[in-house]
């Protein structure tokens, strides 16, 4: 029996951890001390496995403690740290530095379309308000609930699987050009979460949600620019979900 695997090299897996210098160009907004937003630039030494979040931490912990951003889980599941990195919306904890072009400064800005409060921190309330308005909870007639277990077929479960992955990070909504100019638009995240219930066969509130999204600021505002789909860190087919909701409204009203 062979229990020994010939190691290809001594450092199997991660090779020698390279280090490199990175220039971080960060959009700052410190309303208590400076009226206007400005750019700060730092050049720091980082390692092969480091992410943009690590670079921000390094700056915050070792150089400038006033740098402010939200973060928690550090591996892409809590949705705290959506920001604009090199002009596109990403989670800072999911972007490896070495995957970026390090010959140029890496720009970091707050996500667009929500009021900036301080550095990377934006006011998330408008975003959550839209989420709450689509009634993001299962609406089912409890009197008809079976006493023990409610059944759902595996196929029915699969119909809305994609949209259950949402972590409400707002990367999609704040990358949508319609949302940038019209902050009243419900935005892709709210539609994704409506989709999650509209296509759940256990739910009976679909009509109400379709009615909500048939609004002036609802699904029809989407111009299929696909920015949301490209920004979603969970790989949700956001534009597809929106299209399905549009069709559901059409089907219901015609």
């Amino acid at each position: 029996m062979t229990t020994t695997l010939e190691p290809t090299n001594n450092t199997a897996g991660m090779g020698e951890i390279e280090s490199f210098t990175v220039t971080m160009q960060v959009r700052r907004y410190q309303p208590e001390f400076h009226e206007e937003a400005y750019w700060d630039t730092w050049t720091i030494e980082m390692y092969g496995t480091d992410r943009v979040l690590d670079a921000l931490h390094k700056i915050k912990w070792e150089i400038d403690g006033t740098l402010t951003f939200r973060r928690s889980c550090a591996h892409g599941i809590c949705g705290s740290d959506a920001m604009r990195i090199n002009g596109v919306n990403r989670l800072a904890c999911k972007v490896l530095l070495k995957d970026l072009d390090l010959s140029k400064p890496i720009t970091v800005e707050p996500i667009k379309g929500l009021p900036v409060e301080k550095d990377m921190i934006v006011d998330m309330e408008p975003f959550f308000q839209s989420y709450r308005e689509i009634m993001p909870f299962l609406i089912a007639d409890e009197s008809r609930e079976p006493t023990r277990e409610r059944l759902q077929s595996a196929e029915a479960r699969a119909a809305f699987d994609d949209t259950t992955k949402c972590i409400l990070c707002a990367a999609c909504t704040s990358s949508c050009p319609v949302f940038w100019t019209d902050g009243q638009y419900f935005g892709p995240a709210a539609i994704v979460n409506a989709h999650r219930f509209i296509f759940d066969d256990r739910d009976e509130g679909g009509d109400m949600r379709l009615e909500v999204l048939n609004d002036k600021e609802g699904v029809w505002r989407c111009r299929t620019t696909f920015n949301c789909t490209e920004a979603c860190p969970r790989g949700i087919q956001v534009t597809k979900a929106i299209a399905e909701v549009k069709q559901a409204i059409l089907a219901r009203n015609i």
């Binding site: 229990t3 020994t4 695997l5 190691p7 001594n10 450092t11 199997a12 897996g13 991660m14 020698e16 951890i17 410190q30 208590e32 001390f33 092969g48 496995t49 912990w61 070792e62 403690g65 006033t66 402010t68 939200r70 928690s72 889980c73 550090a74 591996h75 892409g76 599941i77 809590c78 949705g79 705290s80 490896l96 409060e117 301080k118 550095d119 921190i121 959550f128 709450r132 009634m135 993001p136 909870f137 299962l138 089912a140 409890e142 277990e149 409610r150 059944l151 759902q152 077929s153 595996a154 479960r157 699987d161 259950t164 992955k165 949402c166 972590i167 409400l168 759940d200 256990r202 739910d203």
Partner: protein, 595 residues
């Protein structure tokens, strides 16, 4: 300063906090205070599943589940609590389903179940399918579903409100037998609004603590940056004991250097652990079940390989999880998330390269002692009226010395629910306790001195040193010597902490300041863990003393209880009192723990 009045105030909006809020919100005027937006809580990171003896795919019952929990916890599980949990597990899962949680389904449309480490049929005869799951996002779905139901029930959230202190008063009271004692009572909490830097007092009849774990005491951890043990430390500072703090679970397979979790499923699907020589070293440590031995055993074996110089990598500081012999299609089907983590974060292609892994701090078994009604205890049996705790912050204790996989998501649902119900019930008949005069003064002081300090120490540096020493000396192997080293270092850091300064002098969104306060909690918790570890001269579950490698049921079949006490001294550490508490036994007698 603003004062708010609620019947029930819940601190923390993870699984435990929101489960409590759903119950309490429908019965009493409830506010939920959370330092993160609810959906950012770390419950969302849980992958594997939540167990309940539904018997949807295989014969099963809650008594077997109780047994597995007791045995998994190396017999210092309180068996009454384990029974409650296993029994209520079934309703907990069905309730979640009714709230809309999209569980994976069997072909008949029932909730699907899968195997998980330590869960067996008929008292250890064979593995059983007990874990209900939603793909590999069970925790995410629980967190989302609970939040959705909070929205449905109009639960009032105060998002980004850090609770930094409890308001407690001491009263003289008389026991039934006529002796007098000091009864602690809770009047409310003091909270810091992140957006403005204002303090808010929340006066409440009932307060529920659900602030989660404290994994950030360690450097390598699967826990979030925000899991800094706030709730435990705040309670501890008010003279409430901490129970079983020496028991910390290290998950064997965290991504090396990062600690990001690769679920047990990786080995369940056939993954093999190898050292630098390519040897399948688990054959030496656990000849029969090899890589699928319990978490604590595998973690220790891995650490031993590294310690004895057989680690891989340039610094020889990790081992390798080898999946290369598995078909890529199989990996894609069963382990998509994990392999994505390896690719994203280490740039390793699991199809062709082994993944660097090392044990990562995962779960704190100990915490604030509670009874099965989630009521916090101020000593071995006296309740603090109106103060409740649930989730990872609490110690009921259902996890004993080692938590079984999937039992925590269950814990937060069962005891979160109980905490919500009992907190609301209590508030129904209770009166508000008068706020202590100037109760917030201590905190105001602390914040002001931290903000205005001109000290020379940096928060980030101290925290890094703390995490370094905890990783080195308090991890899977402990000896008196290593623990003392950790304690000495912690004492040094506590001294230096007095001289710490934050750079951000502003009021709005001052996360710099809060990291400073969190460091204070981390230091307290690290100290408690180390002192408790020093006090237990035996090896049990997650606590392994090389100088005492055997379990000692004769003397140590007890919970440890640690008190913050100005006048006490224990093992040379000032300000801490040590005590023990008996384990509740109902029907399972201790036996040797082998699988």
């Amino acid at each position: 300063m603003q004062v708010h009045k609620y019947d029930v105030v819940i601190v923390g909006a993870g699984g435990a906090g929101m489960r409590a809020a759903i119950e309490s919100g429908q019965r009493a005027r409830t506010a939920v205070l959370t330092k993160l937006y609810p959906t950012r809580s770390h419950t969302g990171a849980a992958q594997g599943g939540m167990c309940a003896a539904l018997a949807n795919v295989e014969e099963d019952n809650w008594e077997w589940h109780t047994f597995d929990t007791v045995k998994g916890g190396d017999y210092i599980v309180d068996q009454d609590a384990a029974e409650v949990m296993a029994k209520e597990a079934i309703d907990a899962v069905l309730d979640l389903e009714k709230m809309g949680l999209p569980f994976n389904r069997t072909p008949e449309g029932k909730i699907d179940q899968r195997r998980f480490g330590g869960h067996t049929r008929d008292h250890g005869k064979a593995p059983v399918r007990r874990a209900c799951y939603a793909a590999d996002r069970t925790g995410h779905m629980i967190l989302q579903t609970l939040y959705q139901n909070c929205v449905k029930h109009n639960v009032e959230f105060y998002n980004e409100f850090y609770v930094l202190d409890l308001l407690m008063v001491d009263e003289e009271a008389t026991r039934e037998d006529g002796t007098t004692y000091t009864q602690k009572r809770v009047a409310g909490v003091v909270s810091y609004e992140l957006a403005t830097g204002e303090l808010h007092i929340f006066q409440a009849k009932s307060v529920v603590f659900a602030t989660g774990g404290a994994g950030k005491v360690f450097k390598t951890t699967s826990n979030a940056h925000t899991l800094t043990g706030d709730g435990m430390a705040i309670a501890y500072r008010h003279g409430i004991p901490l129970e079983d703090m020496e028991f910390i679970q290290f998950h064997p397979t965290g991504l090396a250097g990062l600690g990001i979790l690769l679920s047990e499923a990786a080995r369940g699907e056939g993954g093999i652990l190898r050292n630098a020589d390519g040897e399948r070293f688990m054959e030496r440590y656990a000849p029969t079940i090899k890589d699928l031995a319990p978490r604590d055993i595998v973690a220790r074996s891995m650490a031993n390989e590294v310690r004895e110089g057989r680690g891989a990598g340039p610094n020889k500081d990790y081992v390798l999880l080898d999946l290369t012999h598995l078909e890529p299609e199989h990996i894609d089907a069963k382990l998509p998330d994990i392999t994505e983590f390896a690719r994203t974060y280490l740039g390793v292609e699991p199809y062709t390269e082994p993944v660097p892994v090392f044990p990562t701090c995962h779960y704190v078994m100990g915490g604030i002692p509670t009874d099965i009604e989630a009521n916090v205890l101020q000593d071995n049996e006296t309740r603090i009226p109106g103060l409740f705790a649930a989730g990872e912050v609490a110690c009921v204790s259902v996890h004993g010395a080692n938590r079984l996989g999937t039992n925590s998501l269950l814990d937060i649902n069962v005891f979160g629910r109980r905490a919500g119900i009992y907190a609301a019930e209590y508030a129904k008949d209770a009166d508000f306790v008068d706020l202590p005069e100037n109760g917030e003064a201590f905190l105001v002081n602390q914040i002001e001195s931290l903000r205005s300090a001109e000290g020379t120490e940096k928060v980030g540096e101290l925290r890094a040193e703390l995490q370094e020493v905890m990783d080195a000396d308090m991890q899977v192997f402990r000896t008196e010597e290593s623990i003392r080293r950790a304690i000495d270092k912690i004492e040094e850091l506590r001294e230096r902490y007095k001289n710490v300064a934050v750079q951000d002098k502003g009021k709005r969104y001052n996360l710099d300041l809060l990291e400073g306060l969190e460091l204070g909690y981390l230091l307290d918790i690290a100290e408690a863990m180390s002192v408790a570890a020093l006090h237990r001269p035996e090896s049990r579950g997650g606590h392994y003393r090389e100088d005492f490698p055997d379990r000692d049921d004769e003397n140590w079949m007890v919970h440890s209880m640690l008190y913050r006490d100005e006048n006490a001294e224990t093992e040379g550490v000032k300000g801490i009192r040590f005590d023990t508490k008996d384990v509740v036994m109902t029907r399972y007698e201790p036996m040797e723990r082998k699988y």
